[in-house]
């Protein structure tokens, strides 16, 4: 059994969260509210010291670097960081209802940046590259001059599966006839894929629980 206070606190909090499995109760509520507060504080602190301080404050007021790195060099001033700083302060105006309309400006910048970059990247990686990868091997896979029928069948299935899946995701065309049949085939392919996802998801959830039990039964109680 561990003699470290940290481990005991961690174990007690873990048990409080696990108590939710019995039912919602004050211990769980305490743990959960504690987590909400700690995580909000945690994110703010990490954001401040990792990014806001070195990438904005120090670049605007280089001498501030002395506070965190007394021996380090003083970097050059970069007045342009005023732009994101002003946008950031505008964003905080959301807290004052009368001025909150100004907070739309930084959000508009953030949305524009995300959309502008996303568009090109999604078209490149998730549209072009996916079609390219489906098409490039062709429909007849050969190895050493002879046709590899297993690989060829698989390739046919990939092409047909991708194509019918795309058909399933069309909405303004008729749902009957050939298109409807292909779409139903697409749904089958999607369901096999989701089955695989389900299996992998189960694997992931169990792995995290095993890790937690290793802590509780091992690090804390010393049983395993």
């Amino acid at each position: 059994m561990s003699s470290s206070l940290e481990v005991w606190i961690a174990a007690a909090l873990s048990l409080m969260v696990l108590s939710f499995l019995w039912r919602d109760n004050p211990a769980y509520k305490f743990a959960e509210h504690l987590f909400v507060g700690v995580s909000a504080g945690y994110w703010m602190v990490m954001g401040f010291w990792s990014t806001l301080w070195p990438n904005a404050v120090v670049k605007l007021v280089p001498s501030a670097a002395r506070l965190t790195e007394p021996a380090g060099p003083v970097p050059a001033r970069e007045p342009l960081v005023l732009v994101p700083l002003v946008l950031g302060i505008l964003m905080l105006l959301r807290l004052w209802p009368r001025l909150s309309w100004l907070a739309r400006w930084p959000t508009a910048f953030a949305v524009g940046t995300t959309l502008g970059y996303n568009l090109v990247r999604y078209v490149r990686s998730d549209f072009l590259a996916q079609i390219h990868a489906t098409v490039a091997p062709g429909l007849l896979v050969t190895s050493g001059g002879a046709v590899n029928w297993v690989a060829t069948c698989n390739q046919w299935l990939i092409v047909a599966g991708t194509a019918s899946g795309v058909v399933y995701f069309t909405y303004t065309r008729g749902g009957a006839g050939l298109r409807g049949g292909v779409a139903r085939g697409g749904l089958v392919v999607l369901m096999v894929a989701f089955g695989a996802s389900f299996a992998y998801a189960v694997m992931a959830r169990v792995a995290v629980l095993v890790g937690r039990l290793q802590f509780l039964l091992g690090d804390w109680l010393g049983l395993v």
């Binding site: 995300t114 999604y122 998801a201 992931a204 792995a207 095993v210 290793q214």
Partner: protein
């Protein structure tokens, strides 16, 4: 037992309080953890290219390792990070650690304790590896690195300016890295490294992810994604391969040891799936008219 009695039992099973199910899962896992079975494992179609790519790295190759996970998925992804870091240092490559998760710096601290300081005490920070750490901004951090490392990182976590670090000699931006290894547990993660890092710059991307992401990421394999360690099994495969290749180094095998309880849990959940559906299908078979078709 006649048919009616069996249906009765199944119906009662269908109403079983979920807490019994929880208890069963807990008991099975605890018992297996206590027995500690160790199964043999080896590389799969998806993990082999990662191992081989790292084996083939020239000494001194800079490798970007992104620790995009938090304690929430550490049991799955951390063993991969440990094994990959050990492999990189064994090959004499220079891992450069960044993270897009606020918790990443804490994860990096654990990695430093468990893999670097414990197994490679002779390696020196700044010369053999670099910890650049966390920056806010998610995928936009990748975007900034694509252009210039220095726009976001003027110094490493120890405060040393990046120009002064021998490990970063000749590394100015993303495509100077031999490969990007992203250890991913969600967004931002491997997908963002492919979309914002690998595809625009042509830098190879490989990595590991939680089981949740694995099926989706395989759509990028092998063109946009060199290889993938999928979930705990992927980590276990890599640990086993590392042990086979470097038998003189006895590294801990966290993921491989966790595969025992994992297997038992899978069996239990499959059993529950079957039992649950037996009690669901049973009454319906007797009165086919009650069938409720629902679209999933």
């Amino acid at each position: 037992m006649n048919g009616a009695a069996r249906g009765d039992v199944l119906q009662r099973l269908g109403r079983l309080d979920r807490r019994w199910l929880y208890l069963a899962l807990f008991a099975c896992l605890a018992a297996t953890l206590w027995r500690q079975p160790l199964f043999r494992d080896g590389l799969s179609t998806f993990s082999r290219p990662v191992f081989e790519r790292i084996e083939a790295l020239p000494p001194g190759a800079p490798v970007l390792v992104s620790l995009d996970y938090s304690p929430a998925s550490a049991p799955e992804v951390e063993p991969m990070a440990l094994a990959l870091t050990r492999h990189l240092l064994l090959r004499g490559a220079r891992p450069v650690f960044v993270t897009l998760y606020p918790e990443g710096n804490n994860m990096l601290q654990r990695l430093r304790d468990q893999a670097i300081d414990a197994d490679f005490p002779e390696s020196r920070e700044g010369r053999d590896w670099v910890a650049l750490g966390y920056k806010a901004g998610r995928q936009m951090v990748i975007n900034a690195l694509r252009q210039d490392l220095a726009t976001m990182y003027s110094a490493d976590l120890r405060g040393a300016p990046i120009d002064s670090l021998p490990a970063l000699a000749g590394v100015r931006r993303l495509d100077d890295f031999a490969i990007i290894l992203a250890l991913s547990s969600g967004t931002p993660g491997l997908k963002e490294w492919i979309l914002y890092g690998g595809d625009p710059t042509g830098t190879p991307v490989a990595g590991g992810c939680t089981g949740i992401g694995a099926p989706e990421f395989l759509a990028y394999f092998p063109g946009q994604l060199v290889g993938l360690l999928g979930g705990l099994k992927g980590a276990s495969e890599y640990e086993a391969a590392l042990a086979d290749r470097y038998p003189e180094r006895a590294f801990p095998r966290r993921a491989q040891l966790a595969m025992g309880p994992q297997t038992v849990a899978h069996a239990l959940i499959l059993l529950f799936l079957v039992l649950g559906n037996l009690s669901y299908l049973r009454p319906r078979r007797r009165s086919p008219g009650r069938r409720e078709g629902r679209t999933a």
